[in-house]
């Protein structure tokens, strides 16, 4: 595959470079990875770039080693998908994903997408249900790692106490970004590298 698959045109490459936080190598690598995810008949450059023809279904994207173990993998794909059913990723979606998760992306854009990833019901705020689901994903599904209901309640209460600045019971984007801005490790840990 190697040489034949990574032949993106120069203009396209530089455009991708301008529009994302990725470097040339990263884009080429992303393209290579993406093509490998496509079914064999459409594994060529032209097809891989046309969003209509080649979308990789989410299940396939989730088999990537970078995402496989991630507890938020389905959310990540959902947030970045431009398909109407949010069930597949085109190459550009894939680049967007990598761009946000790259080293160079600004904390602002990272926290914006983190918020959308954590907003499980897509309603624009993190409410108690979202937080509960978030904590459940963080602690894992196994019996011994689960929090008891009372612990969960207390935790959510604490989170809201710390983050919900206007005390309305939910965390909105700006509050979330505020919390994140005080957690410098966020930028370095919100990162997926191919």
């Amino acid at each position: 595959m190697g040489s034949s698959t990574s032949q993106l045109s120069k203009e396209l490459l530089s455009e991708y470079q301008e529009l994302t936080f990725l470097t040339k190598q990263e884009i080429l690598l992303a393209h290579k990875t993406f093509i490998e995810l496509l079914p064999p008949e459409s594994q060529n450059v032209v097809d891989s770039l046309t969003a209509q023809v080649s979308r990789v279904p989410t299940e396939k994207v989730l088999t990537l080693p970078e995402l496989k173990a991630n507890p938020f993998k389905d959310r990540i794909c959902r947030v970045f998908s431009t398909a109407p059913e949010k069930d597949s990723l085109s190459f550009e979606d894939f680049l967007d994903l990598l761009s946000v998760f790259s080293d160079a992306a600004t904390p602002d854009i990272k926290s914006h997408y983190a918020f959308r990833i954590f907003d499980f019901d897509d309603d624009g705020t993190l409410n108690k249900e979202d937080l509960k689901q978030l904590v459940n994903r963080l602690t894992g599904t196994e019996e011994d790692t689960q929090l008891s209901p009372s612990e969960m309640n207390q935790l959510i209460q604490n989170i809201l106490e710390e983050s919900d600045i206007d005390r309305d019971g939910t965390i909105n984007l700006s509050e979330f970004q505020h919390v994140i801005s005080r957690s410098p490790d966020f930028t370095s840990s919100f990162k997926i590298v191919l």
Partner: protein, 1048 residues
């Protein structure tokens, strides 16, 4: 005249619900002289009696003056007419008004629905946003068709129709505030009322009219904008920052108002798209049709200009916000016909998007392409959208360039140079990226161990790069010239010398002693190379580079990682929100989840037990243990120092007696043993010494270790400077260099030993013998301190052995791989959340403060105080090293071409006064900044309180709205949730904008009075017979605002 008019317009405000926001924020609160509250009262009281004349409001219009009843106009202003007045004073007879006013019938409904009506009016103010601001035509139409006026007046004299129509106007506003599951109502309203009120024959005209009079609207806005001149003094930025947004919001609602209407008139699609775009133009953009067709609005330009800045600053935030708003809005008329909703939603959504994009495009046009790209890249949009924006920007740019003046030659040249430079830089950075051999390794480590362990390795690679730099500097400026001059080395080499650095190496470029003091001349080249100066300047330059590199990294690190640490309480949110996405290993994820659970549980139990104060005895016990631990650790450190001191002095004598090379390894061996085992001993304190906050433990361990290491280095430096340098030995600098070389090498060997045996054995013990110990964790703190220690040694040694960075480079490279292997085989990820970024900041600080500054002191003593050895090295024969500089200045002062160098040296570098003045200036600046920071702290505190207050208001309003909605027949949960969001958006939109939003809004929300509101609610209820539930909700909300305003 005009100014007075504006004032009047401003005062009218309170009646306009959409505005209240903007007005209130625009500073009415701030201005004590502002008197609209009085007017309000007036209005309310005098509505019944036709006496209530606002004639003083219209001093500009003699016509109005003549017709005292015109005042009525102010209430249902049909702002159309009102506005038209302004533009075309006297263009149509006021008689009409007076007529309608005089109709007693008319007065009746006015009484009852005054509140609602007056409040709704503003909606018509919103109309200004004209898609086809083909003002002239419409206006002409208006003027020339008396029919219309008659018709409308006729309708206005009809007591029933009028209020209806007003209601229909009001609804859009109502929707904006809250319940919007009432589209049917809306539509029917419009259907009924519109034709009636406006006259069927003129329907089209009326519609145009409704839509077009934006001049009035803008002038109105203008008025308020101008007006707050007097309130600006307090906080202009806030006012301005806030108002455009509100304006936008108000305008935003327009389309939804028009939509139902459009539907009935049978043109759904076209409008949908036209509207949003057009507003956008009028509201935000300086280059909108507004300017191109200034029309009858003389102030339009000014207004736009006023908003230009904000709109640009608004940037992404506005976009996002608007994008959301529109979904909420559209749902309003989801009513009976769902299919409309879907179609509409997509249409509107698309329209909104284009709108946002255009806004962005306009803001980007004036930037350079690089900045524009940067901003586009930072938008949370998909690739397609970003591409579209970029294309638009380019298009617009080309268009503007066509009209702009041709670039002159110089700029062209510059831009080409920049372009080439950028390309070159791109290529270079690509090259370096392809050189990144560790990228893969680092990713694997991150995937398995998370960011915390990764930070150790990135620190190591950072140091490695740093040493590569210093090696390049030293090699090219000191070693290469020396190599040209050097004599062949005739000493034999044996492998032990690799460790001791003596023997063969003594006669190489590795050490100071080998360098010549002569001036290197080449045959055929006239210029000469002064080794003395090269040596001192290269080392000096290197240290200066180091200083600034460290300072820069430290400042960056501090800026990023210590944002408002004082506000922080506990950090549960931080734990929850910062999942480490770098971890890709399945097992590691499981482990991380388990660790997180433990951590969360621990935090929770801490919170639970927080209030329980431990009994005195227990506390005393704890204190005793801490004290004991500190005494023991300090004692051990001092004992070690004493041991090293005596050993080193003994070593000096010992070495003169024994010529055996192995003997030289005794001192480094002992020092390394201390460095390896004492920290282990310190960490065993952890078994008895319990800390409430785990972070404290890390800090304490680091403090103890750094104290130990730095004091040992201090003792060694004392030994080198006070014993070796004075010992009259031949070439003492080389001896010191050898000592440091040995220490570094020995340290390296010990690190290997530690990795292979220590961690390996520990794992064997943990997994095979004592199962409870488990697999060891990678001790980040200890390892990083080790790196700092070696780096300190290297900096000291760089003067005595210029090629030491090369040696260190190799050892670091090997260490990287060894550590990696050991980590992969023996260790598990750390169980505690390690605040990696904060720790890195601390480490860089440690590298800077005791380490680098200490090195500077040592080197300063060497250069200024010590006498270099007589028979070797570049400075042989000089009383002290700095005399090389003095001599050079002497030589230069005799050469007329270099007098400026001499001047600089004498007046700046060598002058006490200059440094004194510099210090004073720096101190003053520091003090000022400190004061500014203090002020900001207070500001932050205030803003924080205000956000909380605002949140309370939000909750309160939401509750009220929910109550009203429950009272309705079919409460739809869908619209409820949307509303929730809407309100959310309205009040808590952005913390970023805190500075702009909060003070104004919360100030009046704060003063909301529940009782008053209830009272008004009831009043309204009884008085407003024809108004229905939705408008009650609106009224309620508006009354709340009004009440708050009145109180001020």
């Amino acid at each position: 005249m005009t100014s007075f008019y504006r004032n009047q317009g401003y005062e009218e405000d309170p009646d306009y619900p959409d505005f209240p926001n903007s007005r209130a924020n625009l500073g009415s609160q701030n201005s004590p002289s502002y008197s609209y509250s009085r007017k309000n009262v007036d209005n309310r009281k005098s509505q019944d009696n036709a006496k209530h004349s606002n004639t003083h409001n219209y001093p500009d219009y003699p016509n109005d003056m003549n017709s005292p009843d015109y005042s009525g106009d102010q209430d249902y202003p049909d702002n159309l007419r009102f506005r038209n007045h302004q533009e075309y004073p006297g263009s149509y007879p006021n008689m009409n008004f007076s007529r309608s006013q005089n109709t007693p019938d008319y007065l009746h409904p006015r009484d009852s629905s005054h509140h609602s009506r007056s409040r709704r009016n503003p909606d018509s103010l919103d109309f200004p946003v004209t898609p086809d601001h083909s003002g002239a035509k419409d206006y002409g139409n208006f003027r020339e068709s008396p029919d219309y006026h008659v018709g409308s007046n006729a309708s206005s004299s009809n007591p029933k129709n009028y209020p209806d129509r007003l209601n229909s106007l009001g609804i859009s506003d109502y929707r904006g505030v809250g319940s919007r599951n009432n589209p049917d109502f809306l539509r029917t309203r419009n259907n009924q009322s519109y034709p009636e009120s406006l006259g069927i024959s003129d329907y089209q005209g009326a519609e145009d009219n409704l839509v077009s009079p934006d001049n009035g609207g803008s002038a109105y806005y203008q008025g308020s904008q101008n007006n707050h001149g007097y309130s600006f003094a307090e906080n202009p930025e806030m006012d301005r920052g806030f108002s455009p947004r509100l304006r936008n919001r108000a305008l935003q609602r327009d389309p939804s108002f028009h939509h139902p209407h459009d539907r009935t008139s049978g043109s759904p699609g076209r409008r949908n798209q036209d509207y949003p775009e057009s507003f956008q133009m009028t509201t935000r953009q300086p280059m909108s049709p507004y300017i191109q067709h200034p029309g009858p609005d003389p102030d339009g330009g000014y207004r736009n200009r006023a908003y230009e800045d904000e709109s640009r600053l608004d940037g992404a935030y506005g976009n996002q916000y608007l994008g959301r708003e529109d979904t909420g809005e559209t749902v309003n008329y989801v009513g009976g016909k769902r299919n409309w909703f879907d179609e509409d939603l997509t249409l509107l959504y698309a329209a909104e998007k284009t709108k946002q994009e255009e806004r962005l495009v306009v803001s980007l046009i004036n930037l350079t392409s690089r900045d524009a790209n940067k901003i586009i890249r930072e938008q949370p949009l998909t690739m397609q959208e970003k591409r579209k924006i970029k294309e638009n920007v380019n298009l617009e740019k080309q268009r503007s360039i066509r009209f702009s003046v041709q670039l002159n030659c110089c700029t062209k040249c510059l831009s080409t140079i920049f372009l080439h430079f950028r390309r070159f830089r791109g290529t270079v950075s690509e090259f370096f990226q392809s050189m990144q051999v560790w990228q893969r390794t680092l990713k694997i480590i991150g995937g398995k161990f998370g960011t915390s362990v990764l930070s150790y390795f990135s620190f190591l690679t950072w140091l490695l790069k740093f040493n590569i730099l210093s090696f390049i500097v030293n090699f090219s400026f000191i070693t290469i010239p020396q190599l040209m001059e050097s004599k062949p080395n005739n000493l034999s080499f044996n492998s032990l010398e690799l460790l001791t650095g003596a023997g063969y190496f003594q006669q190489t470029v590795l050490y100071y002693g080998f360098y010549t003091n002569s001036t290197i001349m080449r045959k055929g080249i006239s210029s000469s190379y002064n080794m003395q100066l090269a040596y001192i300047f290269t080392i000096g330059l290197y240290l200066v580079i180091c200083f600034f590199c460290l300072l820069y990294s430290m400042a960056c690190s501090f800026r990023n990682n210590f944002i408002n640490p004082h506000i922080y309480s506990r950090g549960t949110a931080k734990v929850v929100f910062s999942w480490d996405f770098t971890i890709t290993n399945e097992k590691a994820v499981k482990l991380k989840q388990r660790n997180l659970t433990t951590e969360i549980k621990e935090t929770l139990s801490e919170i639970r037990h927080e209030n329980v104060i431990a009994p005195l005895k227990q506390r005393m016990n704890h204190l005793g243990i801490h004290l004991g631990a500190w005494i023991v650790s300090t004692g051990v450190a001092i004992a070690c120092c004493v041991a090293v001191y005596y050993l080193s002095f003994y070593n000096l004598k010992f070495l003169t007696d024994h010529k055996n090379q192995t003997a030289t390894l005794l001192l480094p061996f002992i020092v390394c043993c201390i460095n390896l085992f004492v920290p282990l001993f310190y960490s065993s304190f952890g078994l008895v010494e319990k800390f409430e906050i785990p972070r404290h433990q890390v800090f304490v361990i680091i403090t103890r270790n750094i104290f130990l290491k730095i004091s040992i280095i201090g003792i060694l430096c004392y030994y080198w400077l006070n014993a070796v340098a004075i010992s009259k030995k031949e070439c003492w600098e080389t001896l010191v260099g050898q000592d440091i070389y040995r220490l570094l090498m020995m340290n390296f060997v010990f690190t290997l030993f530690d990795s292979f045996c220590g961690e390996f054995l520990r794992r064997i013990i943990g997994t095979k013998l004592i199962k409870s110990l488990g697999v060891p964790e990678f001790d980040i703190a200890r390892n990083v301190l080790e790196l700092i220690y070696t780096q300190t040694l290297l900096w000291i040694g760089i003067f005595f052995s210029p090629l030491l960075p090369f040696i260190h480079m190799i050892t670091l490279f090997i260490m990287f791989h060894i550590k990696k292997i050991s980590l992969m085989m023996n260790c598990q990820p750390p169980s505690k959340a390690w605040r990696a970024s904060q720790m890195m900041t601390l480490f860089i600080f440690l590298l800077f403060f005791p380490s680098f500054t200490g090195v500077l002191c040592v080197l300063a003593i060497t250069v200024w105080r010590l006498k270099p050895s007589d028979n070797c090295g570049p400075f042989q024969g000089l009383p002290s090293i700095i005399h090389a500089i003095y001599g050079w200045i002497e030589i230069l002062s005799s050469k007329p071409g270099y007098l400026w160098v001499v001047w600089i040296y004498r007046n700046l570098i060598g002058s006490v006064h200059f440094f004194f003045i510099l210090t004073v200036i720096v101190l003053i600046i520091t003090y000022l900044y400190w004061q500014i920071i203090e002020g900001r702290k207070i500001m932050i505190k205030l803003l924080h309180e205000q956000i909380i207050n605002e949140g309370k208001d939000k909750v309160f309003l939401v509750e009220k709205l929910l109550k009203v909605q429950e009272a309705q027949k079919k409460p739809s949960p869908f619209s409820l949730s949307l509303e929730r969001r809407e309100v959310e958006r309205e009040s808590g939109t952005s913390l970023d904008r805190v500075a702009a939003d909060v003070p104004e809004r919360s100030r009046y929300f704060q003063r909301q009075n529940l009782e008053l509101m209830e009272e008004n609610y009831l009043n309204n209820d009884t008085r407003e017979e024809i108004s229905e539930e939705p408008s009650q909700a609106l009224n309620l909300a508006m009354l709340a605002r009004q009440q708050a305003e009145m109180e001020t």
